[in-house]
C-alpha cells in the first residue's frame, strides 16, 4: 500500500494505492496524524484493489475522526466490488462516494474553509 498526501485549495487529498488489509490498515491509521488539518478530506481509492474487513473499519475510523473535528470526508473512485461489500456490510451508509476528484472537490469546495 502506498499513501500520498497533498493539499489543494484547502482540501487534503489522500491517494491510496494497493491493498488495505489488516496490516496496511494500521499504517494508514498511524499516518493519519501527519495529514494536514484542513477539515476537508478527499480520499482517492481509485487505485485500491482490495479492502478487507479491517480496512473498512479503518475507513470508518478516519471518517469519525474527521467528523469529530467538524470536517468532511469524501471517497473517490471506489471500485464497484468494494462498494458492493460496503453496502452489504452496512458501511456504505456512513460515506459519501463520488466518481471523480472533480466531483469530490465540488462537494468539499462548496462547504467553505
Amino acid at each position: 500500500m502506498q499513501v500520498q498526501t497533498v493539499t489543494n485549495a484547502g482540501i487534503t487529498i489522500v491517494s491510496i494505492a494497493g491493498e488495505i488489509n489488516g496490516r496496511t490498515a494500521l499504517q494508514l491509521e498511524g499516518g493519519m496524524a501527519f495529514w494536514p488539518h484542513t477539515g476537508r478530506v478527499l480520499l482517492d481509492l481509485s487505485e485500491v484493489s482490495y479492502l478487507s474487513s479491517a480496512g473498512l473499519r479503518t475507513l470508518l475510523l478516519i471518517h469519525r475522526r474527521v467528523m469529530g473535528e467538524n470536517g468532511r470526508l469524501v471517497l473517490v473512485g471506489v471500485a464497484p466490488m468494494i462498494a458492493d461489500t460496503m453496502k452489504v456490510t452496512g458501511f456504505l451508509r456512513y460515506f459519501v462516494l463520488v466518481a471523480t476528484r472533480d466531483d469530490a472537490q465540488a462537494i468539499l469546495g462548496a462547504i467553505g474553509a
Partner: protein, 714 residues
C-alpha cells in the same frame, strides 16, 4: 506473511504485557471469561473448557493454509479448574484461523473420545471459515475443515433497538435465507444471501407481516449429506441447515461477503434494516444435536473437546438419538446449559435478535439419560434470563424420540409453542372431514383446551397450517400424498400424516375447475388462520401459491423446490392481494388478536353480547355434531382504551355446497358489512377496511362451499 504485526503503542494496562514465550510467540496467562477468542489490547485471549482433557494446545493457521504457523501448548499454570486460557500477543486478527488439540483418554465405553491427531473447532468461535462460499466444493483432505476465526465486535447499531412488538400482535413469516432470493426471478444483486433479504424488505412490508422467522443461520455444512439425487446424479445437500457446526457463528455461505469473512457485519446489517422497517427477527435454533452425527460421524469440535459433557450417551458409549440425526446434545448438563444460555444471550445482545424458535425443543427438557424432566433447568434458565427478558421463546414442543408436549411444554410463564394440533385439526376441517368441528372451535379461539388451564393464554399458541416441514399451502390442496422421490430415499422420508386433498387430480393440472377450487381452498385457509386467536405463522410463498411439487421434505434440495419463484408475484397477484388484505384485516381488528382467552360468558365490553358466541347455519345454534362442516362465531368489541372495535362475524363452510347462515342481530343503530367473501372472485373476495359494502339482507348471508365470510358490524 506470518500472521503477525508489531505491537502498536497505545494505552496499556500493566497486565497487558507478555510474561511467557513459546518460540518467538509472546504469551501471558489469559482470562477465563469470556470463553472463546476475544480481542484484547495487544493480542487475543483464548479460553476453552474441557473437563477430561489432559493437555490442550492452541493451533494457529494463516487463513486457508494447511500447515499451522504455530502450535502453542497451554502451560500447566494457565489452567484454572477445567478451563485453559492464554493471551497470545502480536496476532493480526484478520488473517488468523485457530483451533485446539486436546489429549485425554480415548475409551468410548467410558464415554471419552479424545484424539490429539484432530484439530478442533472452538464451540465459542464467533465466525467459522471453511465453507465461505455456498456450495463451493470443499477441500476434502483438509484435517481442519471448520476453522475458528476472530471477529471485530464493534457493529454500529446507531439508534436501532429490538422492536418488542407484543406477541399478540405478531404475524410471523417463516423463511429460509437462501430460498428467499436464490431464484433468478428474485432479481437481486446477491441472490440467496443475507444481503438479498434487504432488497425484498419492501415486499414484506407490503405483505404486512411484522416478523420473519429465519430457518437455521448458525454455521452448518451444506455438504453434510451423502445421498445422491436419483434424478440428476448430483450430491444432495443438507440444504435447510438443521445440523449445527457452531452455535455462535452465522452461516458464512449465506453472506455475499462471506469470502471476505464479513458475514457478521452483513447479518447484523440485515437485522438492522428489518427493524427499521418494523419487522422483528426470530431465529430457528437447533440445540438438539450437532453436525458430528453418531460414532461414525466426523470429529469436528464437541466430540473431541469433551464427549462425555456435550452428548447424551448410552452405557456402551454409543449416542442417544432423540433428534433423529445421530446424536443428542446433552442440554441439561450444567456446562452445556451454560453454552446454550451464553449463545442465546450473544444473539440477543450482539445481533439484536427478537426471539428464538427451538427445533425439537422437547429434547431441551430431557435429563442426561434421556428422561423427560418436570422442571428442566435449561428451560427455566432461559425463561428467567435477564438478557432474554424481552425475547420471544417458541418451542417446537416435540422430538424425534416420541416426546409430544403440545399443550404441556414446561413454559415457566414465557414459552409459546408451535401448535401442531392447530395444523392438524384445521387441515382436516378445511378439506371437509367431519368430526372436527368441536376441536376447530378450540383452535379458532386460541386453543383454550391446551393453553387455558395454566393461565398461558392464546399467545402460547403459534398457529400455522403450513411450515417448512410438509406441504406448502398449494400442495396441501394439490396432492393426496407426498412425492419425495427426488430426495433419494424411495419416498420413505417425510411425514405420511398430511391431511391433504388433491381436489380430484394428483398434482398439477390444466383443469380450470380444479385449479379454481384449489385457489378457493387456499383463500379459505388464509381466512381461517388470520381470524384465529393466537399468533399466526405463514410459510414463505404461501401468499402467492408456491408449490414444491408434492415434496413434503425438501431438506436436501438446493433448487426451485425450495426457492421462492418471484414470477408468482405477478401470476398470482389476486391471491397476494387477498393474503395481504387478510393480514391488514387482522391488524385493523384488536378483537382478532386478544391477549387472553375468550370466555363465551362475560359481557366484557358492556355491549350486551358475550365476548365470543358460537353459531351455525342457524343463529345461536352451533352444530357440534360429528357431521358438522360449518362453524360460525361472533366477536364482540373487546374492552379497552383504544378506538372501539367493530363486531366481527365469521362463517366457515367446509361443505361442498353453498349454505345460508342466519346472522345474529346487532345493536339497533349498527349494520353488518362484508369484509371477506372468500368464495368470490377478486376483487369481490375481500374489501378494504372502512370501505366494506353494507350487507343487503341483514338477516342472513350465503356462504359459498369451501369458503368463509367475514362481516364487520358497525
Amino acid at each position: 506473511m506470518n500472521g503477525r504485526v508489531t505491537a502498536c503503542p497505545g494505552d496499556r494496562r500493566i497486565d497487558t504485557y507478555p510474561t511467557h514465550r513459546h518460540g518467538d510467540w509472546r504469551l501471558r496467562p489469559g482470562r477465563v471469561f469470556p470463553f472463546g477468542a476475544t480481542l484484547v489490547p495487544g493480542g487475543v485471549n483464548f479460553s476453552i473448557f474441557s473437563r477430561h482433557a489432559t493437555t490442550c494446545t492452541l493451533v494457529l493457521f494463516e487463513r486457508g493454509e494447511q500447515t499451522p504457523i504455530a502450535e502453542i501448548p497451554f502451560p500447566v499454570s494457565f489452567r484454572i479448574g477445567h478451563v485453559w486460557s492464554m493471551i497470545v500477543f502480536d496476532i493480526e486478527p484478520e488473517s488468523i484461523e485457530y483451533g485446539y488439540r486436546m489429549d485425554g483418554p480415548n475409551d468410548p465405553r467410558a464415554h471419552h473420545r479424545f484424539d490429539p491427531g484432530r484439530i478442533l473447532l472452538d464451540p465459542y468461535a464467533k465466525a467459522v471459515g471453511g465453507r465461505d462460499r455456498w456450495g463451493e466444493t470443499p477441500n476434502w483432505t483438509d484435517d481442519f475443515p471448520h476453522r475458528g476465526r476472530l471477529v471485530f465486535e464493534d457493529f454500529d447499531w446507531e439508534d436501532e433497538r429490538p422492536l418488542q412488538i407484543p406477541i399478540a400482535d405478531l404475524l410471523i413469516y417463516e423463511m429460509h435465507v437462501r430460498s428467499f432470493t436464490a431464484h433468478p426471478s428474485a432479481g437481486v444483486r446477491f441472490p440467496g444471501t443475507y444481503a438479498g433479504i434487504v432488497e425484498k424488505i419492501s415486499y414484506l412490508v407490503d405483505l404486512g407481516i411484522n416478523c420473519v422467522e429465519l430457518m437455521p443461520v448458525f454455521e452448518f455444512d451444506e455438504f453434510e449429506n451423502s445421498r445422491i439425487s436419483p434424478k440428476t446424479g448430483e450430491a444432495l445437500y443438507n440444504y435447510w441447515g438443521y445440523g449445527t457446526v457452531n452455535f455462535f457463528s452465522p452461516k458464512a455461505g449465506f453472506a455475499a461477503s462471506g469470502s471476505l469473512g464479513m458475514q457478521v457485519d452483513e447479518l447484523k446489517t440485515v437485522i438492522k434494516e428489518l427493524h427499521r422497517a418494523g419487522i422483528e427477527v426470530i431465529l430457528d435454533v437447533v440445540f438438539n444435536h450437532t453436525a458430528e452425527g453418531n460414532e461414525n460421524g466426523p470429529t469436528l469440535s464437541f466430540r473431541g473437546l469433551d464427549n462425555q459433557t456435550y452428548y447424551m450417551l448410552r452405557p456402551d458409549g454409543s449416542y442417544f438419538n432423540f433428534s433423529g440425526c445421530g446424536n443428542t446434545l446433552n442440554c441439561n448438563n450444567p456446562i452445556v446449559r451454560g453454552l446454550v444460555l451464553d449463545c442465546l444471550r450473544y444473539w440477543a445482545a450482539d445481533y439484536h435478535v427478537d426471539g428464538f424458535r427451538f427445533d425439537l425443543a422437547s429434547i431441551l427438557g430431557r435429563d442426561p439419560w434421556g428422561s423427560p424432566m418436570a422442571n428442566p433447568p435449561l428451560l427455566e434458565s432461559l425463561a428467567f434470563d435477564p438478557i432474554l427478558g424481552k425475547c420471544k421463546l417458541i418451542a417446537e414442543a416435540w422430538d424425534a424420540g416420541g416426546l409430544y408436549q403440545v399443550g404441556s411444554f414446561p413454559d415457566f410463564g414465557r414459552w409459546a409453542e408451535w401448535n401442531g394440533k392447530y395444523r392438524d385439526d384445521i387441515r382436516r376441517f378445511l378439506k371437509g372431514d367431519g368430526g372436527v368441528a368441536g376441536a376447530v372451535a378450540q383452535r379458532l379461539s386460541g386453543s383454550p383446551d391446551l393453553y387455558g388451564w395454566n393461565r398461558r393464554g392464546p399467545t402460547a399458541s403459534i398457529n400455522f397450517i403450513t411450515c417448512h416441514d410438509g406441504f406448502t399451502l398449494r400442495d396441501l390442496f394439490s396432492y393426496d400424498s407426498k412425492h419425495n422421490e427426488d430426495n433419494g430415499e424411495d419416498n420413505r422420508d417425510g411425514s405420511n400424516e398430511n391431511h391433504s386433498w388433491n381436489c380430484g387430480i394428483e398434482g398439477e393440472t390444466t383443469d380450470d375447475g380444479i385449479n379454481a377450487l384449489r385457489l378457493r381452498l387456499i383463500r379459505y385457509a388464509w381466512v381461517v388462520l388470520l381470524v384465529s386467536q393466537g399468533v399466526p405463522m405463514v410459510l414463505m410463498g404461501d401468499e402467492v401459491g408456491r408449490s414444491k411439487r408434492g415434496n413434503n421434505n425438501t431438506y436436501c434440495q438446493d433448487n426451485d423446490l425450495n426457492w421462492m419463484d418471484w414470477t408468482l408475484v405477478e401470476r398470482e397477484a389476486d391471491l397476494l392481494r387477498f393474503a395481504s388484505m387478510m393480514i391488514a384485516l387482522r391488524k385493523a381488528h384488536p378483537a382478532l388478536r386478544q391477549a387472553h382467552h375468550l370466555t363465551g360468558r362475560h359481557d366484557t365490553a358492556c355491549s350486551g353480547y358475550s365476548d365470543i358466541s358460537w353459531h351455525g347455519t342457524r343463529v345461536w345454534n352451533a352444530d357440534w355434531s360429528p357431521d358438522s362442516r360449518t362453524i360460525a362465531f361472533m366477536l364482540a368489541p373487546p374492552p379497552g382504551h383504544g378506538p372501539r372495535d367493530d363486531f366481527i362475524y365469521v362463517a366457515l363452510n367446509s361443505h361442498w355446497a353453498a349454505l345460508p347462515f342466519e346472522l345474529p342481530a346487532l345493536p339497533a343503530d349498527q349494520a353488518w358489512h362484508i369484509a371477506v367473501n372468500s368464495g368470490m372472485k377478486s376483487p369481490e373476495d375481500i374489501h378494504v377496511t372502512g370501505a366494506e359494502p353494507r350487507l343487503q339482507d341483514q338477516g342472513q348471508v350465503l356462504v359459498g362451499g369451501r369458503s368463509a365470510v367475514v362481516l364487520v358490524g358497525r
